[in-house]
């Protein structure tokens, strides 16, 4: 069997297959539903976000946490600096003592 004849046979055997009509309709409906749901979710989400953001900004109860967090962070950093300075000081004095001996 020559190659050209085989290619003709392959074209006959491997024909494009038409998708069933019901599938096409189902898929299109599904895309439309996803798209609509997403659009409405997005707009609800945007509205809710703005309102909740405004509310939390206005509420003084929510100001305490950031202030405490910043203060705790500052204290921790200060403690680390003090610790490091003392460590270096101890190293320096022990080196001096070694030299004197």
């Amino acid at each position: 069997m020559d190659e050209i004849r085989l290619e003709h046979l392959l074209s006959d055997v491997l024909r494009p297959v038409e998708p069933p009509e019901r599938m096409s309709t189902r898929l299109q409906n599904r895309f439309a539903a996803i798209s609509e749901a997403a659009a409405s979710d997005l707009s609800d989400w945007a509205d809710e976000l703005t309102e909740s953001e405004m509310k939390s900004l206005r509420d003084p109860g929510n100001w305490v946490r950031p202030v405490v967090a910043v203060a705790a962070g500052g204290l921790a950093t200060g403690a680390l600096v003090v610790f490091e300075v003392r460590r270096r000081g101890r190293q320096r004095s022990s080196r001096l003592l070694d030299r004197l001996r």
Binding site: E7, R15, V17, F31, S35
Partner: protein, 190 residues
């Protein structure tokens, strides 16, 4: 379309597309290539039920990444990308369900050119033999033949869909046809 990736990492200077534009583009892609994707899936799984399932999954996945694919395609056709999605999903389909592809014989009809009853029977036998031998080819070769003959894809498109170079694809197709030819000759269909 919350699943669609946001238009934030553009690779071109073009302004970002609106959601409506992306949706319209996808709808066109779907209309243009539904038959291609379905045909590919059908020849991969061998039955209409699973082919429908796989086609649906392919388009749903494509829908999620469409905006990015369109940006990154630089105007090249997206059919290879769609077929690649279907290819990956089909691979998972077999792995997850431990299935084997079935022979897609429902589709075979004798060539239109034959007229006499004898010729029709002979033609049908020949086509059946071709189909059976296609099923026995290594998966990659079988897929390349499906893309070429059922979908009418050229070498470049097949290469993109399979993640190969143009040269490697040309060799793959050549070997697939050669192997099929040899098997048919061995089976007395010379």
């Amino acid at each position: 379309m919350s699943d669609v990736e946001p238009e934030t990492s553009g690779t071109t200077d073009a302004p970002p597309e609106t959601k409506a534009e992306v949706d319209r583009g996808f709808e066109q892609l779907y209309r243009d290539h539904l038959r291609d994707v379905y045909s590919y899936c059908y020849y991969r799984v061998g039955n209409h039920h699973d082919a429908e399932d796989l086609t649906e999954q392919t388009f749903l996945q494509a829908y999620r990444h469409y905006a990015r694919a369109r940006r990154e395609s630089d105007g090249r056709p997206l059919r290879p990308w769609l077929i690649r999605i279907a290819h990956n999903l089909a691979a998972n389909f077999y792995r997850d369900r431990s299935r084997k592809p079935q022979t897609a014989l429902d589709n075979i009809e004798p060539p239109a050119a034959k007229h006499s009853t004898e010729a029709v029977v002979e033609g049908r036998d020949e086509l059946r033999a071709v189909m059976e031998h296609i099923q026995e080819l290594p998966e990659e070769r079988r897929e390349a033949l499906v893309m070429r003959f059922a979908l009418g894809m050229d070498n470049r498109e097949i290469a993109r869909a399979m993640g190969k170079s143009d040269g490697a694809t040309k060799v793959l197709l050549h070997r697939a046809i050669k192997q099929l030819q040899e098997r048919l000759e061995e089976a007395g269909h010379g």
